[in-house]
């Protein structure tokens, strides 16, 4: 047993590269995921900023159309596969889940380490893509372009995504086993923290949906290398089959990206309102409902892919249904705020902004699931605005909120208050400047994925680009907060770093000791 009074914790109990890279400790793995994901985010973000630089003014300035194709593809692929999918479950979940359950680690620490190593292998494949011919298929790898025409490193990218898929599946398995078997005595299902419910619903999708992506991308690789006709119509294949398979994974993947963040918001709203969450069971079950319904809505990506009108109507109707559990969450958050004693700390202002901004993303989602609207808006900037509101100001902002919330537990010092709030306001204004005008240019018919645009969109794009650079640079403030915490510069954090925080993770000292909860606590 380590002596806490000597200041020994999980960060400094052993040193050296292998004590980190070969570690079985969920806290160290979570932290490594965090830094790795932030590194990938930086690269993906730079690609986005180069795109905005090109779109700053009409005409061709800095990159040609082919380079632009690569930029949006790599931006999308990196942000989806390397950042948002592992970002919350693997990085935040790894650190927080066992602590919140009062468990000493996840159920299978070695599998957990394997997940991280597979993530690194997958990331190396993407580095390989970057160093060779790049990738220009769009992150969706649509056949037949990806299988017949693209001259870029499609096979490398599909193998990379394949490894990342395994990483994701193993994390999901680990979390389900942990939540099923490692809960402390007294913690019944309906005493589980809501973040854990979010992770649980996500883990179900990771296990059931990710294998489908693995096979789909493998088939793309097989068709490219061996020339068998799976998606190629000339050989009797069907390109629409690719879209079915791809979206069968990738729609649930959207919920893999947003359910854990919404779980975070549920935790934070309760903590900083000094109240118990309103409608706990409804929020918990709404996560599971979204996860399950998420499996039967993939056809709404294919309204213009030639599916029959009846099929489209059915998919559209089921998609509307997703709004119900999502709205349940939002209404319960607002009800929790009502008559709460609200404290505006950095995590809370992020959480509050997510309610509003995620709401905008959700509402535009309803526009897009309306058949007639979607046919007009399909593949325009409106869609870009929609999913960036959900994924950036929804999921990424929740990650920021969670980072500010748990940084004291990770590092032992409180995050810098001034920098944190500056980061928030700067990000909040710029993210709206960046994405809100996209609704208008999309409605007016500006298509996505082009290196150039018609002259009438010039003014909007000028401001969108300004917002883009501003938002990108604002993230350096977040980096500064993290680096300051890592360097232990700041106010020392007590065990219960935030007043009103109730989870079991706040029972252990900050930073967390190497061994936590050798004997499970008893929850009343």
């Amino acid at each position: 047993m380590y002596d806490q009074s000597q200041g020994v914790n999980y960060l400094n109990c052993s040193r050296g590269f292998w004590s980190w890279f070969g570690t079985l400790d969920h806290k160290r793995l979570g932290l490594m995921y965090m830094w790795s994901v932030m590194g990938a985010m930086l690269i993906g973000g730079v690609f986005a900023m180069v795109m905005r630089l090109e779109l700053f003014a009409p005409g061709q300035q800095f990159v040609d159309a082919e380079a632009f194709n690569q930029l949006f593809t790599l931006h999308g692929a990196i942000m989806v596969f390397l950042v948002i999918i592992p970002g919350v479950p693997a990085a935040l979940g790894n650190f927080a889940l066992p602590l919140m359950l009062g468990a000493k680690d996840v159920a299978f620490p070695k599998l957990n380490r394997l997940s991280y190593h597979l993530w690194v292998v997958g990331a190396l494949f993407f580095v390989g893509v970057l160093l060779t011919t790049g990738l220009d298929t769009g992150w969706t790898f649509y056949a037949p372009y990806s299988t017949l025409h693209s001259q870029t490193a499609v096979v490398w990218a599909t193998f990379g995504a394949f490894f990342l898929g395994f990483s994701s599946i193993f994390t999901g398995i680990n979390f389900i086993a942990t939540i099923h078997k490692m809960r402390p005595p007294g913690m019944t299902w309906f005493k589980l923290p809501l973040f854990c419910w979010g992770l649980y619903a996500t883990a179900i999708m990771q296990i059931l949906a990710t294998p489908v992506l693995g096979i789909t991308l493998l088939l793309v690789g097989v068709e490219r290398m061996l020339g068998v006709g799976i998606f190629n119509p000339a050989l009797g294949g069907d390109p629409v089959l690719f879209q079915h398979l791809f979206w069968f994974y990738s729609h649930p993947a959207v919920y893999i990206m947003v359910l854990p963040p919404l779980g975070i918001i549920s935790e934070l709203i309760a903590t900083y309102s000094r109240k118990h969450i309103f409608g706990y069971r409804f929020i918990a079950m709404s996560s599971v409902a979204i996860a399950l319904v998420g499996f039967i809505v993939w056809g709404h990506h294919m309204f213009v892919s030639g599916q029959s009108a009846l099929t489209s109507i059915v998919f559209s109707a089921i998609t509307f249904f997703v709004a119900i559990p999502s709205a349940i969450k939002v209404f319960n958050w607002v009800a929790t705020l009502y008559k709460g004693s609200i404290v505006m700390k950095a995590p809370m202002i992020y959480a509050l902004s997510v309610i509003w901004l995620f709401g905008i993303g959700g509402m535009t989602g309803l526009w897009l699931t309306t058949l007639q609207q979607d046919i007009h808006l399909h593949d325009t900037y409106f869609v870009v605005a929609h999913f960036h509101y959900v994924l950036v100001s929804g999921a990424v902002f929740s990650m920021f909120a969670a980072a500010y919330y748990w940084l004291p537990k990770w590092s032992g010092v409180m995050p810098n208050k001034l920098l944190g709030e500056l980061h928030f306001w700067s990000s909040l204004i710029s993210v709206n400047l960046l994405f809100f005008p996209m609704h208008f240019v999309g409605l007016a018919g500006m298509p996505r994925r082009y290196a150039d645009y018609a002259l009438q969109f010039a003014d909007y794009n000028f401001w969108i680009s300004i917002g883009g650079f501003w938002f990108g640079l604002s993230q350096l403030l977040f980096l500064a907060v993290c680096v300051l915490c890592a360097m232990k510069k700041g106010e020392k954090a007590p065990a219960r770093s935030w007043e009103g925080a109730e989870g079991l993770e706040w029972e252990v000292p900050s930073p967390a000791p190497f061994h936590t909860y050798d004997t499970p606590p008893v929850v009343k």
Binding site: G172, T210, I215
Partner: protein, 184 residues
């Protein structure tokens, strides 16, 4: 609860969850042939049968007229003409109709082509029966050749009442390289 006991129970959970993941791999893999079967049954993707229909129509419904439109498209690698003799025909369900298609090869070398049919709306695909079609086999076109390719079809008298127009689309692909590769 002892440590070992917990480990055993965890292992059991791990096995169960792995089975789910493996089953989903299998499911995705099975979707490839399964999709074809589903589409055959429902006509979901507008694919028509790849073999000639052997039975003739049971009757001709004289009092009903259906419009059949033809679309021809050139796929990758084909730069010759590909057209049909007529763009639309009016037929009675059960009536046997012949439509000629033409393909030409302006290249200086022989090519082998394969045409892929698709019917819209997909629901109607299984009511379109072809007794002869150039799409059933690969068609070789000698250098500079212009070829007449007949297609004989009839509509099933059972065609749902609300379908008064269907579109039959053909895309022609150059599969010369592919055929050469498999014959090697």
């Amino acid at each position: 609860m002892s440590e070992q006991n917990l480990q055993q129970r965890n292992q059991r959970t791990l096995r169960k969850l792995l089975i789910w993941a493996v089953a989903m791999f299998g499911f995705a893999f099975a979707m490839v042939p399964f999709y074809d079967v589903i589409c055959d049954i429902t006509g979901l993707n507008g694919k028509t049968s790849t073999t000639a229909s052997t039975e003739g129509p049971s009757q001709v419904v004289e009092d009903r007229t259906v419009t059949v439109e033809f679309i021809t498209q050139r796929g990758e690698g084909v730069n010759g003409d590909f057209t049909s003799a007529t763009r639309r025909v009016e037929v009675h369900p059960g009536e046997i109709t012949l439509v000629n298609f033409f393909a030409s090869n302006p290249k200086s070398s022989d090519i082998i082509t394969q045409s892929i049919p698709s019917v819209s709306p997909g629901e109607a695909a299984r009511y379109l029966h072809k007794t002869q079609c150039f799409c059933f086999d690969q068609q070789s076109l000698a250098a500079g050749e212009r070829k007449e390719m007949p297609m004989i079809f009839y509509l099933d008298p059972e065609l749902p009442r609300h379908r008064n127009t269907l579109t039959l689309s053909y895309t022609i692909f150059d599969v010369t390289d592919r055929v050469a590769a498999t014959n090697k």
